[in-house]
Amino acid sequence: MFKKAQSFFLIVMLFCSCQSSGDNSAQNENAVQDTIISAMEIEITEEALVEIIDNIASPVEMAALMNRLGVPFSKEYLASTCSVDALNTNFQMAYKLGVFGANLGYLNMYGKTASAIEYISAIKILADELSVGQFFDYTTLKRLATSNQNLDSLMFLSVRSYKEMDSYLRETHRSYLSSLMVTGLWVEGLFLATQVVKEYPNPAISERIGDQKIIITDILNVLNLYKKDPRFNDLIQSLEILNVEFKKINITYEIGEPETIEKDGMLVIVQHEKSIVEISDEQLKRIIEKTEKIRKKLISF
């Protein structure tokens, strides 16, 4: 029964791959767009861009928090992979690559390796279309997911593959795609957190959502480099609607000196300086609603 299901899955995947690789006119259009958009990259150095992108926290940390708090897993929060072959611009594909990356991180963190295979396959299709498939080791990742063992290795290879793809996009003067991928990761991570907090209210998750105030500013700084492109401008407008709500959140700090403890042969540093996020139920509600709307719009293209 399992072998039949596996064969069916492989046939479906092959069909999807064939469908997604034959549109020459779309590829030509993408090549022209790449040239135009990369020409806009004149206002910021590569080093500064890397710093901004590195500053965008990984959705893995958000998923880890949910797991630690005992929030049950739900596939309802995940984006569908069904339309992956309908995407025909690099803009759409890079954004979705980020979305699926966040979904894969969530699945891996909960050890849902069977479902992870679906996302690994979708990511591979998009990565190949964007010419970064060589950094996504589909065979090993699929084998690790299928065996349902070595979750650490699966997580490591998934995260590192994204890092490699991101670096290569920037090296090949396609930083605009890198910025879209990172935006997709972030929006999807925020969506996961807001859906979870809606169903399972928890102050730690609310605070983590409020913390995103720091990150949305960085994302908008990167996206604004490409605002002359109407699609980027539209994306910026969507995120600015969300940023209006984040700007209302107050973050205060309590001063304290770090404490170093040597325990069981390990060096442990406890930070006593604290950040305190003040986010009201009403503010949280508005962020949840706006994130839902924006995410729905962005994953439907």
Binding site: N150, R208, E262
Partner: protein, 148 residues
């Protein structure tokens, strides 16, 4: 052992498709270091660092990177030296220009392979990697999450 072989195999596969021939060694070092981070950890980022010898003790070369660290999160910062590295790597953490953590014990001066950081303030942190005494060196720093 099986896990190690899988990771190394994966890395060799990635490297064989990589554009640059020099990318292989750092990737192997990253793969080896990830295995040394410890149990119940999740890899987040790596920083491959190759630095020249310092011209003077007042001007030790430092590799600086930034990362957002989140409140109520247990991180581990690990440093692994390449087999042919002359210098011993040191990893340090800064926030708002202030040192908040280091792989060198402030009490004993001993250099540790890693240190844990219990973060209570969300914000942008700087991860500095250098080599003891300003020696020439090649190392990788790993930022990981400790799953408590």
């Amino acid at each position: 052992m099986k896990r190690l072989l899988i990771i190394l195999f994966a890395f060799l596969m990635i490297c064989s498709f990589s554009r640059t021939a020099s990318a292989q060694d750092p990737s192997e070092l990253v793969g080896r270091c990830v295995l040394d981070v410890g149990e119940n950890t999740t890899y987040l980022k790596d920083y491959v660092v190759k630095l020249p010898e310092a011209y003077s003790h007042d001007n030790i070369p430092i590799h600086k990177n930034t990362a957002i660290l989140l409140k109520n999160t247990h991180y581990r910062l690990t440093i692994c030296n390449s087999n042919d590295s002359k210098g011993q790597g040191v990893i340090q953490l800064y926030n708002d220009g202030k040192k908040v953590g280091s792989s060198i014990s402030p009490e004993t001066g001993k250099i540790y392979h890693s240190f844990d950081f219990l973060c209570n303030k969300t914000g942008s942190y700087q991860i500095w990697i250098s080599f003891k005494g300003g020696e020439e060196g090649f190392a990788v720093g790993i930022l990981s999450l400790v799953n408590d």
